[in-house]
């Protein structure tokens, strides 16, 4: 929990920084950080490499928006509809995968296949999703503020706080989850699935749970992202989006609490800090990924934690 103290300066940031650009970058960081945390729960927690989170991300944004349109309900109710759909989809896919005892790599491939299928459906179901043209999202989430009534979140600063609060909420949830017996069962499955099985843990149920939770969180990130950018399109469900989230988690530190957020921060702000010819940026991104895998397995947070511990021990 102490790691969450790092968030406090972020709450105070808008007082010091006036630049809209910085706040915008941070908003994207927070939202993508939520997506990354979701992925970390199923990968860093339960050890299952999934490629489905981009699909959940996209489904979250599409279903939330479409529900708001069709049923004239506010953002949070629309999101609830998305949650229900994502849970159903996750259970179906997860059931298929885990019942058939698909091992790591094949699980990744099958979730990739399902994610691509979802993307193709969204791309071609033009009557509902407007297909490749995407949809303009002019609705905004509304919040009830005591004393202020119902407020639409439209300007940068309100969005900043909304996304920061959502991120905090998701972080607290992930901490509580990791510490609970559910989280410990996830870790057991990650470290040695067969052993966990013999210890009486129903691996099937827990893997399914991790997969579902991860996708619901991804859907949350998707809803926020879609409404913030004001535009949703089928590429939200593309493999590249999944890979981005994976890179963020790896860079920041798998199985750590703040890792995904740190990774999100670095990868979102990097293109704006380093002025490189555009082609080089992608190359740098790839090299970072490679270096992290080969040299920095525990990611930035892991490395930092290790250094701190080393200092404490040495002293």
């Amino acid at each position: 929990m102490k790691t969450l103290l790092f968030l406090i300066p972020l709450y105070l940031l808008p007082l010091a920084v006036q630049s809209d650009v910085v706040l915008t970058i941070l908003i994207f960081t927070f939202v993508l950080g939520i997506l990354a945390i979701g992925f970390n729960i199923v990968f860093g927690g339960a050890g299952q490499l999934t490629m489905f989170h981009a699909a959940a991300f996209g489904i979250g944004s599409y279903v939330t928006f479409l529900s708001m349109l069709r049923f004239a309900i506010p953002f949070w109710l629309g999101f609830l509809v998305a949650v229900v759909i994502v849970i159903i989809v996750s259970i179906v896919i997860g059931w298929i995968c885990f019942k058939f005892r698909l091992k790591e790599f094949y699980f990744a491939v099958v979730t990739l296949a399902f994610a691509e299928l979802c993307r193709l459906v969204v791309l071609n179901w033009t009557s509902v999703t407007n297909g490749t043209l995407g949809m303009l999202v002019l609705e905004k989430p509304t919040i009830w503020i005591p004393g202020g009534g119902v407020v639409r979140i439209e300007q940068t600063v309100p969005w900043y706080f909304l996304t920061l609060i959502c991120l905090t909420g998701v972080l607290i949830f992930s901490v509580l989850l990791t510490r609970s017996w559910i989280g410990r069962n996830f870790s057991a499955i990650r470290l040695n699935e067969d052993l966990a099985q013999t210890l009486g843990i129903n691996t099937f149920r827990y893997k399914l749970l991790a997969f579902t939770i991860s996708n619901v969180i991804a859907a949350f990130a998707g809803a926020l992202y879609g409404f913030y950018t004001g535009y949703i399109e089928p590429s939200y469900l593309a493999v590249a989006q999944s890979l981005d989230a994976i890179a963020m988690v790896l860079l920041g530190g798998v199985s750590t609490i703040l890792g995904p957020v740190v990774g999100a921060l670095v990868l979102t702000s990097l293109p704006h800090l380093i002025e490189l010819p555009a082609e080089m940026r992608v190359a740098v991104y790839g090299m970072i990924l490679i270096l992290v895998i080969l040299l920095m397995r525990r990611g930035i947070v892991g490395l930092a934690a290790g250094l701190l511990k080393g200092r404490v021990n040495a002293a």
Partner: protein, 286 residues
């Protein structure tokens, strides 16, 4: 209408051989080094661009260009192996992630060198053969025969030559093979290099048929992995069969369903196979 279907079956078989050679590379790499090299598509891209460069810009004869392209892809594979894959043996997840990183680096390199504007090689063998209402471009048929020949020779090499038998022995039982004196490190590197060369060869032939873009690797590696899993990872001739099945399904399927779903067939196949026959169509249950 039947002639159209037959035409598409033939087209699918030819396209499938291209998927097949990538699938072969995937399957060999997985069997020996324990990872799936997603970056094989990039080596295919190297082969393709190199062939285009040598044929159109350096004005060398096509066969010479192909040989040079394959060598280039193989060398690139060697570098990648020594610098990266050497450290991720048997670690599927790390291997996957490193491959993805490599893809970004290589694709940007191609973008820098060649820009996103597609390149089109001058036609090597023009014209088509006609059988009734079915027309098959000559270059496609030639490419198909070459691909099948290379895949066949690979299979032959692996079943007859000493190195080949050693490779299969290692795939079946690494420890025993090591005890028998099989040079494992050399073997693993050799397989990575060879699969990159195969991909490069596929790329060279691809260049003679289609336009080139830096992103061409991405599509083919997905199809290659699908075909490999379809056939059963580890089964070599099966890789070709898997590729052909995929190619034919796509081509014939696109006649009846919107072409927008062309990529879905492979995915559906993949899921179905992995669920009901995880060892693949031709694999043996462990």
């Amino acid at each position: 209408m039947t002639q159209v279907v037959v035409g598409q079956i033939l087209n699918g078989i030819i396209l499938g051989s291209l998927y097949g050679i990538i699938a072969l590379g995937v399957t060999m790499t997985f069997g020996i080094t324990g990872i799936v090299n997603f970056a094989l598509g990039q080596f295919m891209m190297i082969g393709a661009y190199a062939t285009w460069y040598f044929t159109d810009l350096a004005m060398l004869p096509f066969p010479v260009a192909v040989v040079l392209a394959v060598v280039l892809a193989a060398v690139a594979g060697l570098i990648a192996d020594q610098a990266l894959f050497r450290f991720t043996r048997n670690n599927l997840v790390n291997g996957l992630l490193v491959s993805i990183g490599l893809i970004s680096v290589m694709e940007s390199g191609a973008l820098l060198l060649f820009t996103t504007t597609p390149k089109n090689m001058d036609i090597v063998i023009a014209g088509s053969w006609s059988l009734g209402a079915i027309t098959l471009p000559r270059m496609k048929v030639v490419a198909f025969l070459l691909l099948v020949a290379v895949i066949g020779l690979t299979w032959l090499g692996l079943s007859r030559a000493w190195l080949g038998r050693a490779t299969r022995a290692y795939a079946q039982n690494p420890e025993a093979a090591m005890l028998m004196g099989v040079p494992t490190k050399l073997l693993q590197t050799g397989v990575v290099v060879y699969s990159c060369a195969l991909a490069g060869f596929g790329g060279a032939l691809y260049a003679s048929l289609f336009s080139l873009e830096p992103s061409l690797g991405g599509l083919f590696i997905l199809k290659g992995v699908e075909a490999a899993i379809l056939a059963g990872v580890g089964n070599l001739l099966g890789a070709l069969a898997g590729g052909v099945i995929l190619g034919v399904t796509e081509s014939v399927g696109s006649l009846y369903l919107p072409s927008a779903f062309r990529d879905a067939y492979g995915l559906v196949f993949l899921v179905a196979i992995l669920l009901f026959r995880p060892a693949g169509l031709f694999g043996s249950q462990k």
